[in-house]
């Protein structure tokens, strides 16, 4: 089956996105959830770059930079929150954070 390179990239991006999504749903350690979010963002990046090669426009690669910058901000703040959470509750499992009963 002759499948073009960027189309294969979109399929891989789909697989990576679902792996990341399942990772968030299944792992309860907050650090692993953040790593899974990074996997999902990378999958989105791959989809953007593949789409840019597929349509022969450069916009996808430009958007990839913005996604990367936003991922950096989100990772920074998420990790700062993890640090302060660990200091307050001394746990890193999402199952232990049930004071609000929800």
């Amino acid at each position: 089956m002759s499948i073009s390179l960027p189309e294969m990239g979109i399929y891989f991006s789909l697989l990576l996105f679902l792996v990341g999504l399942l990772g968030i749903m299944l792992r309860k350690n907050i650090i692993f959830m953040m790593l899974a979010v990074e996997v999902m963002l990378n999958a989105a990046n791959l989809a953007f770059v593949s789409a840019s090669v597929l349509t022969n426009t450069i916009d996808g690669q430009v958007i990839m930079f913005f996604v990367m910058a936003v991922a950096a901000c989100e990772a920074g703040i998420g990790l700062a929150l993890i640090i302060s959470l660990y200091r307050a509750r001394n746990t890193l499992e999402a199952d232990d954070l049930r004071i609000l009963r929800g």
Partner: protein, 184 residues
């Protein structure tokens, strides 16, 4: 032929390694595996011809963001017996099965969605100036688009990064207890 094979191998390895990464017990191992996944993704961008994206993926993602991850994981210094790592329950197997079903469903739908690529491409090509993907002028095309059409987004993202820097420093600081001065 070689490019297709290398792209396929890189893609398969990245999906497989990300599955392995999310089933590890130690966070540091998972972070290192994620770095390898990111480098494989950078390789895929390089095979696709977007080498500026590949280099900046390694520079920013694998060389800066993951360094922050690794720092935080090492500084938190979680003792090993507190890492909860158990067997996969039935509910989790059901979730994985439904995830695979969604992948299959979307995969075939995505295959049908590619018929819209031509019209999208035609609309993008009709807008002038139109920057094509070219191997020898990749940096020039990306940066000329970044500073003309996406200038607002660029400046706003720089504000976002500034806010994130300030926010993460403030959030991660230890709360200072105000000592009341006893004057007698």
């Amino acid at each position: 032929m070689l490019t297709q094979a290398s792209f396929f191998i890189l893609g398969l390895c990245s999906v497989f390694l990300s599955i392995v990464m999310l089933t590890r017990k130690w966070p540091v191992t998972a972070a290192m595996l994620l770095i390898v996944v990111m480098m494989m993704l950078a390789g895929m961008y390089g095979v696709l011809g977007a080498h500026f994206s590949a280099v900046s993926q390694i520079l920013v993602y694998a060389g800066a963001i993951m360094v922050v991850f690794v720092f935080v994981i090492m500084l938190l210094n979680i003792p090993t017996n507190e890492l909860r790592y158990g067997r996969v329950t039935l509910f989790e197997w059901l979730l994985i099965f439904f995830g695979v079903c969604i992948a299959v469903l979307l995969g075939t739908r995505v295959g049908q969605g590619y018929l819209m690529i031509e019209s999208t491409a035609a609309r993008a090509h009709a807008r002038a100036p139109y920057y094509p993907v070219s191997f020898n002028e990749n940096v020039k095309n990306v940066s000329s688009l970044l500073f003309t059409d996406y200038l607002w987004a660029f400046e706003l993202v720089s504000f976002l990064i500034l806010a994130a820097i300030v926010g993460s420093v403030v959030i991660a600081k230890k709360a200072r207890v105000n000592h009341v001065n006893k004057s007698s």
